[in-house]
Symmetry: C2
Subunit: 343 residues, 2 copies
DNA sequence: TATATTTGCTTAAACGTTTAAACAAAGGTA
DNA sequence: TACCTTTGTTTAAACGTTTAAGCAAATATA
């Protein structure tokens, strides 16, 4: 009942009176081992409930078969779906993933990187914390010669692989849609400008306004942490303006939810008085009343592409990490919160 | 620029002209090594950017310092917060965690267990998938002699540690509160009865009705998967009754959100016509209009206690796994959705 | 002074695997 | 017959640590 010793290849070898090396080769289907031996080895392995010691093979081969994944927080559908897809692709190739949450904290992110390096992961796939501006720890990953793949929050000057959607074009899509709905004063509750993706969304917004000959009103462009709470606060700020907007484009769904609550509490009709568009296509956007239009970020594709990008490096050990952007087209899902024609 | 060989203790040893063993001991602050040598070793280690090889020490010591965590899905605040707290406690003790999501699928859960066993984790902390009724894979963990700690969805007959809240008493708290609000027909949209925690909530509900001399109407007791979508469906089912309820207690916040949407769409006043209570205290419950009353499951405490329970086993290697339930008192957070006095 | 203890290190084996090199036996080729 | 190839295996070293055992030198004890 107590800790019986684990079965090793030596145990199998001694049962069959062959060498441990032969067992190892038989289990790896080496062409120089006879079918007879292979079958016998597999049978004994099964009988003794043999489980290969991953640590020993990892030590010998210099590969841990572990990939680290760092996300700001797993509690959104976007990140949990990305992770799920990374896991799916990598498990098939014999890799396991270690997930860590940075909680949007720079310090926690640095700790996570140290931990993952210590654990000898074969690669790191990461989306950066909101706070992060100093890239020294990500450079440390590169210095260690470990493949680094960034996604979503990660576009930068590190010259590594990046997988994400076209944020600039997404903003354009949204503004165009709102203009088509007859909106003239379109506000943007954006993320922090220092984060590249949010900056791209802001640039896309500004350039699109320009394209449609709408003036840029600085009061209508606000930076936010994009939490529900901050979405509420920034919406209240917009409602306090003398000249209110007739549409609000929020760079995150949670903040859009907060904004919507404030609008509803103030009995403002959505989309007639103020139209609302979010970003991320979290499942709840479809379930709210009114449902919120949003940008589908293709979390499944992002996860798969990121995992595949890692595998490319893992297979060519002589890799040199260079800038390699994989940009997916995003898709605007139009729902009730911005669809006047449907009302 | 390319993969320079990693520094090992041998490199440090040869620089100082001492043995590798001395270096190892110096780094572990062995009392039999002189301060002079310790200081020199640490200095050289730093200069050469030495990173201990976790795989080698794990192989030698038979411990991987990895703990597997299996959750149904990370995308709720409850699970991501439990994970965060587990990580915090375990990192301090030198452990890293590997998180896997079962996606509520029995098969995926089994795969996760196999993967974690293969990775030689030192322990597994898990919350079971909705689908799981067959415990054969969890028994496999026990058979492997690896500590198993269950939390939230995991109460069962496996005779292992369990950390969770008092679901039975929570139901009682809710029913009592609703009775105090003057409700007489209290419905319960519960989870699947086969899952112990949901069964406990159902029993608590039934017994509490009895205690307050309210009749049990089978039409008002419904099993659900507790997703937003199913919460909507089950609420619609309740509204279709000739004799509608005047309160609904939903065993999960996401389903409660779905239920609330249906109520709002039907212009039913909350809580005056129908009062609503959820379960889990997801942050969004406080942000909705009306805010939803809910049960605080103390995710932080659950995470910490689960990690501590693992550490107890890890420190006494001669452990025998027995039933050890840690049940936390839950707390009812009363908000607008069930507070008539406030309206 | 002789003996015991402490200090500070070294040696060597071990953890469980993988793999290059060696080699015997069997079969093929000229 | 003499040599080459293929087949199927063994031997031994290696991956980077940890740790029990050993030992010489310094210090303490009587």
């Amino acid at each position: 009942m107590t800790n019986k010793k684990k079965t090793t290849i030596k145990d199998i070898a001694s049962v069959l009176n062959i060498s441990a090396a032969a067992v190892s080769k038989a289990l790896h289907n080496d062409s120089r081992i006879s079918d007879k031996t292979k079958i016998a080895v597999r049978q004994v392995a099964k009988n003794l409930n043999y489980q290969p010691n991953h640590l020993a093979s990892a030590l010998r081969s210099g590969k841990s078969n572990l990939v680290g994944v760092i996300v700001p927080k797993t509690n959104s559908n976007f990140f949990s779906s990305v992770i799920e897809n990374i896991e799916q692709v990598l498990n098939k190739e014999g890799y396991n993933i270690i997930i860590t949450q940075s909680n949007e904290s720079f310090k926690k992110e640095c700790d996570s990187i140290d931990t993952l390096l210590f654990t000898q992961v074969d690669g790191i796939i990461a989306s950066m914390a909101n706070e992060t501006t100093d890239l020294v720890y990500f450079k440390k990953i590169k210095k260690n010669g470990i493949p680094l793949i960034l996604f979503d929050r990660g576009e930068n000057n590190l010259n590594v692989d990046y997988v994400g959607i076209d944020d600039y074009a997404s903003s354009s899509l949204i503004v165009e849609h709102l203009v088509n709905q007859g909106c003239k004063r379109i506000a943007h509750i954006g993320g922090y400008k220092r984060t590249r993706i949010f900056n791209n969304r802001i640039r896309g917004y500004v350039d699109a306004l320009n394209k449609f000959n709408l003036p840029l009103d600085k009061e209508l462009l606000i930076e936010s942490s994009l939490t529900i709470e901050d979405g509420r606060a920034k919406m209240q700020q917009l409602l306090a303006l003398k000249n209110k907007p007739d549409a609000v484009y929020v760079a995150g769904d949670y903040a859009a939810l907060g904004a919507q609550q404030v609008l509803l509490e103030n009995n403002i009709k959505i989309p007639q008085e103020i139209a609302l568009v979010g970003f991320g296509n979290e499942p709840f956007t479809a379930m709210l009343t009114p449902s919120i239009s949003s940008i589908n970020q293709h979390s499944d594709e992002i996860g798969k592409k990121a995992a595949e990008a890692f595998l490319v490096h893992a297979k060519n050990s002589s890799f040199t990490q260079t800038l390699n952007k994989i940009i997916l087209n995003a898709e605007l899902i139009i729902r009730d919160s911005s669809n006047k024609k449907n009302q």
